[in-house]
Amino acid sequence: MTASSQISRRDRWADWAVIALVAVALLSGLWLRETTLYRAEDFTLGDAGLSGRIFTGWVRQTGTDPLLRARNPLSGAFNTVLELRSRALADDADPALVLDALALERAATVDAYRTLSTEQVRVRGETAVQRTFTYVMVDHSPYMNRLPRVVRGVDVSLRDAGRLIVVTYLADSETFDADYRYFRTFIESLRY
């Protein structure tokens, strides 16, 4: 084997080594991104018999309605929000009734509330009713000069024995699509 063929083989190895190194760096970067954005921890709402995983660093509030409200403090002018509600509902009743009641409550407290769509979706292998809506968030504080923000939201109703669990996702219309994965991951983590 000549010196030059040894060298060219080493050059080829060097080429592949660069590509492998960059691939490892990018995969590590991807892992870092996932860990930073989507690291989650367990939560349990004992009285409601609900548990799941919520994202680390989100500000959590628990109560009676909603049972859980978590918001991402790093998500811009309007913080992305996940909410969890439980409403009593007979097994043969239409889940849309609960969503209608929620819509009325919201319409009374926010500006320009509009329902966009109501449809049946498959969540965790079961049929659920999903409603999308929008409203305008106006900061009424006289000391704040903020532009109104257009908020988009989704309610998904999950049937459980004698009750309906409603999972709500609210986000600025500009970050709605980018943050949608939080909603999907949250729903998939729920246990009841």
Binding site: V18, V22, A25, R33, A178
Partner: protein
Amino acid sequence: MDKDICCVCHQPVDADAKKLGGRTYCARHYAKVTQEHPGAWRAGLGMIAGQLGFVLLVEILVGLFHPTFSGWVLIAVGVGLALLPALLWLAFFYQQDRLEPEPKGYVFSVFILGALLAQAVGIPLVDRVFEVQRWLPRSPLGGLLGAILVIGFVQEFLKYAAVRYSVFPLPEFDERVDGVIYGTAAGLGYATMLNINYIIADGGVHLQAGVIRIVVTALAQASFAGLTGYFLGRARFEDEPSWWLPAGVALAAVLNGIFTTLRGELTTTALDLSGGGFNPWPGLLLATVVAAATFGALFSLIRRANKITLSGVDAEGGAQ
């Protein structure tokens, strides 16, 4: 029996031909490999000084005339400013390169290739796939690691690829310093596209702060790509181990990530009643120091390697 060929022009050579790091050279290319090419270094120095002069000129003109552009005129002015750092370097380089000319078309082609790779791969990958703006600012350590692993490696690999898979195997790549020259061209192409994207995304540019940002990006991208180019130049003409090129890309990526993080820290200021929040001058100082240190170090390293070669210490075979 295998006949030796020149590793640059691939022409057959005599049995007593010069060897360097296990590679055989014809007489012409052995002489070229060790060429000092002072024009390239003067162009590098001219680029740094010229860009600082360019910033000062814009600052003075804006201070004197207070121009108010808007709409497409502002965008056009911004794009013109974004092109200037690369044009300055190319002008310096072409002017200084008359005595030992590098093929102008190749230098310009690598510049364009760097810009195209930035627009087609680098910017979409960093901004849309990795969405670095969503997660890098969340923690100092995570931000630094992310800047190195994502921004640093994507940018430095693409600039490396722009040289490695275009001019690197050609006979025109025939001097140690060529790696730095073509690397700088790729880096300036990448920087130009980053700057054009920044201007278009912002709908124009605040002239005083914008011109500093443009120059900082150009100096930094050119420096890190020049460093990768140095490793390419050594790999082309010397017997370097397989880890040599990965080490070069990794070193440039780490420096790029550290620079990106430091620039963010240095240019962000506390908000007060008079406004604030952003001061671009420390970023310019940092970029100037980085560029001067990088090109200074590369100059002395290549000069030292050339001296060693010319003294015959690492030359094998043939008459000295």
